[in-house]
């Protein structure tokens, strides 16, 4: 799973925060170790419980951009693009400075770290 592998430090931080959250939710009665070690969906250290895992976040994107970011037709493929280029573009959409059809509206729904996770995910997908 290549998902959010590029943004290691950020991901580790959020995972440990997620651990604390989840353990607290269980009043630390359960053995709080083995199963979550490979948890692909760490919890953000805010109270919004949003996914920060790139692959999970990308579920919403692929409805338009195609499975794994490989698109048919006018909507661009994202697979194989450079993470830095994707990130620059996403930030420009959110700042309403990029040339967009609808992405300038959509990008407002995502935080910096979420955009970073998405850019990391699609950047790690094989090009079509």
């Amino acid at each position: 799973m290549a998902a959010a592998g590029d943004d290691g430090p950020m991901r580790r931080r959020s995972r440990s925060a997620g651990w604390i959250r989840v353990c607290a939710a269980l009043l630390v009665t359960a053995p709080c170790t083995p199963v979550l070690a490979g948890d692909p969906a760490p919890v953000r250290p805010s109270n919004s419980l949003q996914v920060q895992n790139g692959e999970a976040l990308a579920d919403a994107c692929t409805s338009c951009h195609g499975i794994g970011g490989r698109s048919q037709g006018y909507i661009p493929s994202l697979a194989g693009a450079k993470k830095a280029d994707l990130m620059r573009q996403l930030l420009a959409f959110r700042a309403q400075t990029g040339q967009a059809t609808i992405m300038n509206r959509i990008a407002r729904a995502y935080s910096d770290s979420e955009l970073e996770a998405l850019a990391g995910y699609f950047g790690s997908r094989p090009a079509p």
Binding site: G18, V22, A25, L26, A30, P31, C32, V35, L36, D39, A41, P42, V43, R44, S48, L49, Q50, V51, Q52, N53, A56, L57, D59, A60, T62, S63, C64, H65, G66, I67, S71, Q72, G73, Y74, I75, T101, I102, R105, I106, R108, A109, Y110, E114
Partner: protein, 422 residues
């Protein structure tokens, strides 16, 4: 290995969102997932589960051998392409290792965890996904019925009804009146009636320019209203008239023998009458009590698990999904969140909240589309819009922008149907 599954169930029978530490299922375990409905909700969930866990035993129950999408079906009415362009078979779904049974699900036993099929067979499930779409409340319009719909089609489930309405439009004389009766919310595809009016107008303008379309509406406003009004003024001046509820627009009764549509104040004699009745969750969900008598099914917005039964999930038009509209896009996004929660449950993991989107394009003309973009997140226990402002294409957009939206819509359709059927 089944014992493991059961242990996992017992371990996870707390609150839906609670983290659990059940043992991971062994590689040999095949949890049984049954999906009722092979459309945007059910099939998206089934394919997502298969792509993420090849061990699962997944069965989709679908009434039709070939699925016809409601998205893009207004284009058939406008004569832009034939209905066959919107039909999909389940061959590749089956080749991916999913069982597809062309059957009707006739009953759910939530205690025995079985689904009864029209063939008399019953299917056992560990997880059940219910995504039956809508059924009509026929008596919401006096005089309307399945039989009346053969004369005054609803065309709100794509297929034979769409073709019937198209045939009526092509057969009607120039100068005829087309009536579109719009029900009260909530109903499937809120902008659908207005896109339909637009694309029928596209046909009439070219072929029968003396004709008129009258939209009789049970509401006083509608989604993307300003954008539709702008397009109608520009593309179809004088061709489309919208009558809101406050101007006695609500259709109260119809007489199929005379093609009369009545609002209680005015009677309209239509050349073609497209009557869209009020709707509720598909019968299988209602009969199983998943709607608790309300017509639609309450769900946990994190997992889409029914509020009535554990490990029974409701997706798409049948669900009460907060501010998410009843659309194919919504159902598809819900399906992935639901599938992810089932995978987490099977793995004994906590599931984090998904970020859900709904992106909906409407066509005014073949090269003229506009959109609304919604993000959703859970606030106060319900799915609410992430942002409310600037969700639609701006008014006064250029021809080029409308054209790019039309091309995006076609590309979206190709990609989402590939995710389901490809």
């Amino acid at each position: 290995m089944r014992r493991l599954t059961r242990r996992a169930f017992i371990a996870t029978s707390g609150a839906a969102a609670a983290a659990v530490w059940a043992p991971k299922l062994s590689a040999a375990t095949a949890a049984r997932i049954v999906v009722i409905g092979g459309g945007f909700g059910g099939l998206s969930a089934a394919r997502y589960l298969r792509r993420h866990d090849p061990r699962l035993a997944i069965t989709v129950i679908e009434r039709e051998a070939r699925y016809v999408t409601c998205p893009f079906s207004n284009g058939v009415l406008g004569g832009l392409y034939p209905l066959s362009r919107l039909g999909f078979g389940y061959e590749r779904v089956m080749a991916s290792g999913i069982d597809v049974l062309q059957q009707e699900a006739v009953g759910i036993d939530a205690v025995a965890k079985t689904v009864a099929l029209s063939s008399g067979r019953t299917l056992k499930f560990d997880y059940l996904i219910v995504s039956p779409g809508i059924d009509f409340i026929w008596d919401s319009v006096q005089g309307y019925s399945p039989r009346a719909a053969e004369v005054m089609p609803h065309a709100w489930k794509a297929g034979a009804q769409t073709e019937l309405l198209r045939r009526q439009l092509t057969a009607m004389p120039d100068g005829g009146l087309v009536v579109i009766g719009v029900p009260a919310m909530p109903y499937r595809c809120p902008p659908g009636p207005y896109e339909r009016a637009s694309l029928i107008a596209h046909y009439l303008k070219a072929q029968k320019p003396k004709s008129k379309i009258m939209i009789l509406d049970a509401s006083d406003s509608f989604i993307k209203q300003d954008l539709f009004m702008e397009a109608w003024k520009r593309c179809y001046p004088g061709l489309i008239e919208w009558v809101p509820a406050s101007k006695s627009g609500k259709v109260m009764s119809v007489d199929a023998s005379t093609l009369t549509v009545s609002t209680g104040f005015d009677d309209y004699h239509a050349a073609v009458a497209n009557i869209i009745p009020a709707q509720r969750a598909g019968a299988i969900a209602v009969n199983a009590g998943l709607d608790q008598g309300t017509g639609y099914c309450a769900i946990d917005p994190l997992t889409f698990e029914s509020r009535v039964h554990r490990r029974i999930y409701v997706l798409g038009d049948a669900a009460i999904a907060g501010e998410m509209p009843k659309s194919g896009f919504s159902a598809n996004n819900q399906a992935k969140a639901c599938a992810r929660s089932i995978l987490a449950d099977l793995g004994g993991r906590h599931v984090a909240a998904a970020k859900l989107l709904n992106i909906c394009y409407s066509f005014a003309e073949p090269d003229y589309a506009f959109s609304i973009v919604d993000g959703f997140e859970i606030k106060d226990g319900s799915l609410k819009l992430t942002f409310e402002d600037n969700r639609t294409t701006p008014l006064g957009a250029s021809d080029d922008e409308h054209k790019r939206e039309a091309r995006s819509a076609a590309s979206w359709y190709a990609n989402i149907t590939a995710e389901m059927f490809g």
